[in-house]
Each structure stands twice: as C-alpha cells, then as structure tokens.
C-alpha cells in the first residue's frame, strides 16, 4: 500500500514538475504577451495542482494534506483570477493579440471583423464587456452615483474601438 502511494505521488510530482518546466519554457519562447500568459497559467494550475496532490499523498493521515488542500483551493481560485485580471489590464492598456489575415500572415492589431467565421473571440468579449459597463451604470441608484459613466467610458479608449 505504501509503495503504491509512493509510486503515485512520485508520478504526480514528476508530471507536475514537467508542467512547471514546460510553463517556464513557454514563457521564454512564446512570441507575445497572451501566449506567454497561457504558458504561465499552465504552471499556475496544472503544475501546482499536480505537485500539491503529489505532496498530499506523501503526507499520510495527518493535518498536512488538509493544509495542502486549503492551499490547492486558494491557488485554484486566485491564479485564474490573476490571469484574467492581467489579460484584461493588458487589453485595456492597448496590447493587441496577434491576428491572422487572409494571406495567413500574423500581425498585431485589431482582429478582422468583416468575415463572419473568422471573428475572433476578443472582439466579442469587448462588446459584452461594454454592455456590462453600460448596464451597471444604468442600474446604479441615483442618489449615490457620484461616478459619471460618460467619463468612465472616456478613460477606456481600448474598449471603444469595437
């Protein structure tokens, strides 16, 4: 039984280490921010999860696996959120994801909107984001609304383009 646990945990730890390594490699090698973030998120979720589960198996019936599980839960909540916030901040500050045009050449810039099937995800996201902003501003009670929605839209130049 012990040897089985040991084997399982070693396999998990090695796989987790591999994920971390691949993530680090990806951060070095990927061409631009969003793909790099994709690589980094591999470390955050896949690598960390596998390593933590591997360590939990090593812990045995003590308080240690429970603590590791708490860390696991914490990481699973926070690191995707951090990735989201980072990507969002990058998009708002005007870092464009690279896109492919008809000739198959990659370039950084606005995704092509004209042809339907090629419509990229980010422009759709932008539109929904804009909607939420408008909805939130409209729903706000009049008495407390010291913020001005018009002013806010002006502070987000990247969003207005879509």
């Amino acid at each position: 039984m012990d040897i089985l646990l040991d084997i399982a945990s070693t396999v998990l730890l090695v796989t987790g280490g591999f994920f971390v390594f691949v993530g680090g490699f990806g951060v070095m090698r990927m061409p631009e921010l969003y793909t790099r973030m994709h690589a980094a998120s591999l470390t955050d979720t896949g690598g960390a999860a596998l390593i933590l589960v591997g360590l939990m198996l090593q812990g045995g019936f003590t308080l240690v696996p429970l603590k590791l599980a708490a860390i696991f839960l914490f990481l699973f909540l926070t690191s995707p959120t951090a990735s989201y916030a980072l990507a969002n901040a990058a998009l708002l500050s005007g870092v464009k994801p690279p896109c492919r045009n008809e000739t198959g050449k990659t370039f950084p810039g606005e995704p092509p909107v004209a042809d339907g099937p090629k419509q990229s995800k980010s422009s759709a996201e932008k539109r929904t984001a804009n909607k939420t902003v408008a909805g939130k501003a409209a729903r706000k009670p009049a008495g407390k609304a010291t913020r001005k929605p018009a002013k806010k839209a002006a502070r987000k130049p990247a969003r207005k383009k879509s």
Partner: protein
C-alpha cells in the same frame, strides 16, 4: 546542502530584482518589482527558520506596501524623471558605504555558527527558561511579548506615531456621519468594480483572509504569528474588499473613525496591561501578577498585549489605506 543551494538561488534573485528596480524608470514596474523583492525576502527568511519574520514580510512587504505604493502612484505621475547622469558623488558615496558594509560582514560570524555571540548571550537563557516561566511553545512570542515587552511596547508606539505622521501629511480622519465620497485612487481602481470575476473571487476570499488573520492572532503562542502578522492580515482582507468594491464601500465597511479609534485603542490596551500589572502589585508589564498562578498570568498578559498589537497594526494599515484612497476629495 539543499538549504545553501536554495539560499544562493534566492539571494541571486534578490540581486537581480534589486538591479531591475534601479534600472526601470516606470514607477509602476518598480512597485511591482519591489513586491517581488519582498516575497523573495520572505522565502529567504523562511529558509533561515524565521517563520514569524517571513510571515510579516510576506503580508506587509509584498501585500500591503505594494497597495500603498500604488495608492501613492495614483496621486502622482507614473514615470520617474531620470536623475542627472555623470555625477560622481553618488557613485563615491555608495561605493564607500558598500565597502564599509562588506568590511563589517568580514567580522560577522558564519551562518549557523554555534559559537556566534548571539547564541552565547541571552538566547540560551530564553530557550531554557521559557518552558518554566511562560510555558508557550513559540519562544519568539515569549521573548517578544514578555521578556522583551518594553521593546514591543516601543514598537507599537512607533507604529502609532508613524500613523499620526502619515495622517498629518495626508489629511484628517473623517468623523462619524460625514458623507462618503470617492478619491483619486478610488477612481483609478474603479474599473475593478465592473469586472465580475475579480470581484466575486475577491469577495469570496475576504472572510477566509480575516479568519486566517484571527487564527494567526490567537495561535501566536503555539506557532509562528502574533499581533503584528495578524493585524496586517486582517487589514489585508479589508483592503482587498476596498479594492474590489471601491474605496467608498470599503470606508462604509470600516469607517475611518473606527479604524482611527482602533489604532489608539490597541496602543492603549498594551499600556493599560502594563499599568494593571503595577496596580496589582507587580512591575510594569510583569504579567505574573495578573492571575493566581504566575504562568497563567503570563498567558493572560501575552494574550491581551497581542490583541493590542493586532488592533494597532490593523488600524494603522486600514487608516493609511483609506487616507490614500480618498485623497483628492475637496
């Protein structure tokens, strides 16, 4: 061996990050890098078995001071004006100072040397007498709260004074019942309110951060932790709430008069315990007289003064954050 490799790695990272901080002229980048610096430093403290210090450094250095720096950045420009290049005075000054420090380290004992002066002086006495006199497993807490209670009282009043200094620079604490408005930093971080994911996740984490803070507060006798770390953790939870919900909502949750009162109340609690000891026939901050049994009295005294420390630290952090976040209201 493993420790040495790990320390070497961490110290190398520290040097790299420090050079990066110096070389960047974007202050935002510098703030983020200084957060990373603190986190590496915390890991370094942990490698050196100083878990209490590591916890403090992680919470205050990497967490709260980053937020406070960002609050300051929201009020100023994002780019540094490049200092004049070519002056030899800074070079000479820093090389001379660096030389003195390196010369001083030559005299220092080696890492982990059992014959070092610190291990020969009062440390053995503390280790020997803590189980007899105070009977708490964490010797650090015993030294900090009881043997060296005067020093910690001084530290609490330093924090208290620092808070008064910052508040006198940034503006007064708003009294109860005054209108809650938004400052410049609130407007900058206002974007966060409209992002559902950080908002939901952030709000979900706040109770657990506060709970962990309370655990660190009351478990300080047994494990790493105590009032300083706990106060900073609780404040971090409330600052997180203010960041995801907007500063105005944060000031509704913990009003400024309340956090200001907490600062004074904590320092008062600490000093009052000292006076209570005198009233009950002991010396100032000699907790043994607080209860029928000296050891039990020590436990009670440590619990009370740690609560005072926690209140002051949490109050100071929240007050300073609020002061930054509502700055710009006229």
């Amino acid at each position: 061996m493993m420790t040495i490799v790990f320390s070497l790695f961490l110290l190398t990272m520290l040097v790299i990050v420090a050079v990066a901080i110096l070389r960047t002229d974007n202050l935002f980048t510098a703030v983020m890098l200084s957060g990373i610096f603190s986190l590496i430093m915390a890991a370094n403290f942990f490698v050196l078995d100083a878990a209490d210090v590591a916890l403090t450094e992680a919470v205050i250095g990497a967490g709260i001071s980053t937020v406070l720096f960002l609050g300051a950045l929201a009020l100023t420009a994002e780019h540094d004006h490049s200092p004049p290049v070519g002056s030899w005075v800074p070079l000479v000054t820093s090389s001379a100072l660096g030389g003195v420090i390196i010369f001083a380290t030559l005299q220092a004992p080696r890492l982990g040397d059992p014959n070092a002066i610190v291990h020969k002086h009062v440390a053995p006495w503390y280790l020997e007498n803590t189980p007899l006199l105070i009977d708490v497993p964490n010797v650090v807490t015993a030294v900090l709260a009881s043997f060296r209670g005067y020093d910690t009282l001084g530290e609490v009043f330093v924090v208290f004074t620092a808070c008064i200094g910052v508040m006198s620079l940034l503006g007064r604490v708003r009294p109860r019942g005054e209108l809650i408005e938004e400052g410049e930093f609130d407007k900058r971080t206002d974007n966060l309110r409209h992002h559902l994911i950080p908002r939901v996740v952030g709000k979900m984490l706040v109770p657990f951060i506060v709970l962990f803070g309370l655990y660190v507060q009351f478990h300080g006798d047994f494990g790493p932790g105590g009032g300083f770390q706990a106060g900073a953790l609780v404040a971090a939870g409330i600052i997180l709430y203010s960041l995801v919900e907007g500063g105005a909502r944060g000031r509704e949750l913990v009003p400024e008069w309340f956090s200001g009162m907490l600062v004074a109340l904590g320092a008062f609690t600490y000093a009052a315990v000292g006076v209570a000891c005198m009233v009950m026939g002991g010396r100032f901050l000699d907790y043994s007289v607080l209860s029928h049994d000296p050891v039990h009295g020590q436990h009670l005294g440590i619990l009370l003064i740690e609560a005072g420390v926690g209140m002051t630290v949490a109050g100071v952090m929240i007050t300073i954050f609020h002061a930054f976040s509502r700055r710009g209201i006229r």
